[in-house]
Symmetry: C3
Subunit: 216 residues, 3 copies
């Protein structure tokens, strides 16, 4: 299997799992079939559209290649019809989301490096490709974006994109190693969920004058 075929397969798999994640979130919010497909589309393709605009690959793949939109729409519709079999929607959303995070981190970073972005920019774009769709999904469904909550999320994507940039730098960015980077992100995210790892929150000192916090 050639690298470009592998990259396409990884990308379409990422599209499918993020579409399923978005559709599951939309079903849980009681949206109708079109709302479910739309949120699935945004979750699956929003990050990639942003990436392609930023690296000047226009028109974005989501519009230039019909397989992307079709994969997203079919997967989201399938989740709409099949979800009653999914007993625990919330867990499903989280695991699919972690898988999409890993796949899009790797493909997003690689595409940015291929477009001659400098390493720091490529890592940021890889991370934003991975978290962009979920951010759109959460804004559309009125949730506080998962990326801002007290959890390891964007940082897992950032670790993966740095790994891809390093592999690319030393010339070992082949399918096996890149799969390893995707699994690293997926694993970091799942362990963080499982162990409830969370990043520190700032301590707000109470002001001298009374009992109310300074943010009020």
């Amino acid at each position: 299997m050639s690298t470009s075929t592998a990259l396409l397969l990884a990308d379409l798999t990422g599209v499918a799992v993020f579409a399923a994640s978005g559709a599951s979130a939309a079903v849980a919010k009681r949206l109708d079939i079109f709302g479910v497909v739309f949120v699935g589309f945004v979750a699956a393709l929003g990050g990639g559209i942003f990436r392609d605009l930023v690296i000047n690959e226009v028109p974005p793949l989501a519009f230039a290649d019909w397989r992307y939109a079709s994969t997203a729409a079919v997967t989201a519709a399938a989740v709409f019809w099949l979800h009653p079999q999914l007993a625990r929607l919330r867990t499903t959303v989280l695991v699919l989301d972690a898988a999409g995070l890993g796949l899009f981190t790797v493909t997003g970073t690689l595409k940015a490096l291929d477009a001659q972005m400098p390493a720091v920019g490529a890592c940021l774009i890889g991370m934003l490709t991975a978290i962009g769709g979920g951010l759109g999904r959460d804004l559309l469904t009125g949730e506080i974006p998962v990326v801002l909550r007290r959890e390891i999320y964007a940082v897992a994507a950032l670790a993966g994109s740095i790994a891809v940039a390093l592999l690319n730098f030393v010339g070992h960015a082949r399918t096996v190693q890149l799969t390893g980077a995707a699994v690293l992100v997926f694993g970091l995210r799942l362990i963080a969920l499982r162990r409830r790892w969370s990043a520190p929150v700032a301590m707000l000192r109470p002001p001298r004058t009374g009992t109310r916090g300074p943010q009020t």
Copy 2:
């Protein structure tokens, strides 16, 4: 009247009705004059800016041609001053929104086809041009986006953009037929509002263990 003049007129009319829709929504939310003009601007030009970025027509028309921003600003300001005469703001917003949906679906799909986008991508871009402004308006004013609610909205735009792509394919994309496609979208949307047509919502089976839904 040449095709390009007709397209410009249709586009500016769409800008005006979407600006009025956004401004009415902002007035109903008690925003000030600048908030009203800003929401009108986003509702009128947000979809087109997205379209132009995606089909690589930069700078977007909203910035390159002063008539677009001026039409949006003047219309939104007019709604701000004149709205007390409008007895039923909510109905006004919905009807103007339907008209803008029809006009932007047609002009958005045509521009994407002119920019050599493949048919599937052009239909998606036409739909997103039409729903993008309303999505921005709803996010800014803290409403659940109308496109996600149990109503025929994006699907009316999609039907219109497919009609435009088919007309273009058979070589009949002239003013009369295209006006028909815009009226189709407008009519579908109004009938859906009138008859309270809605798309199906997924049934959530209760889990075995108790009375709480699986999404909790």
Copy 3:
């Protein structure tokens, strides 16, 4: 000091103050360190990314030049660790935000003019560069965007961008005059905050039938 060095310094200062504004808002919302850095990043670089996409300067500076992302990340992290010393977070956010508004209005308008945008478009882009980051910050942290509230905000930026366009037109767009334009925006915004200046809100006439407002 050359004009381009001055422009870079002004831009990076704007990045730092907007990152601090975003980070302060995120700390007040009790987000974790990554959420704080992410909101800081969006507040600092969101407006500029939008500007660069629109004027076709791709990849956007935020990704092409590592100093931008680094300045934003370091500043946001510093606010996270240092903020307990900041007694009044809300005031700090507002003042930093006003400073960023002034700096980004000037640099955004200048860059749009340099990219051969017509004057009306350049003023709009300058204003959107300045308000875009704050808009993203507010959407991410679940606040009603400050730009839509009853305050002089976008209009201060618009006044500054028109001043820059006029200075450019008469050939006096040098460092001193441009600094004056930035101070104008900063001052307008601070005075508006201090004196609680606000723009007019539309009067909603009650309908004939009863006591409820027409917007219900």
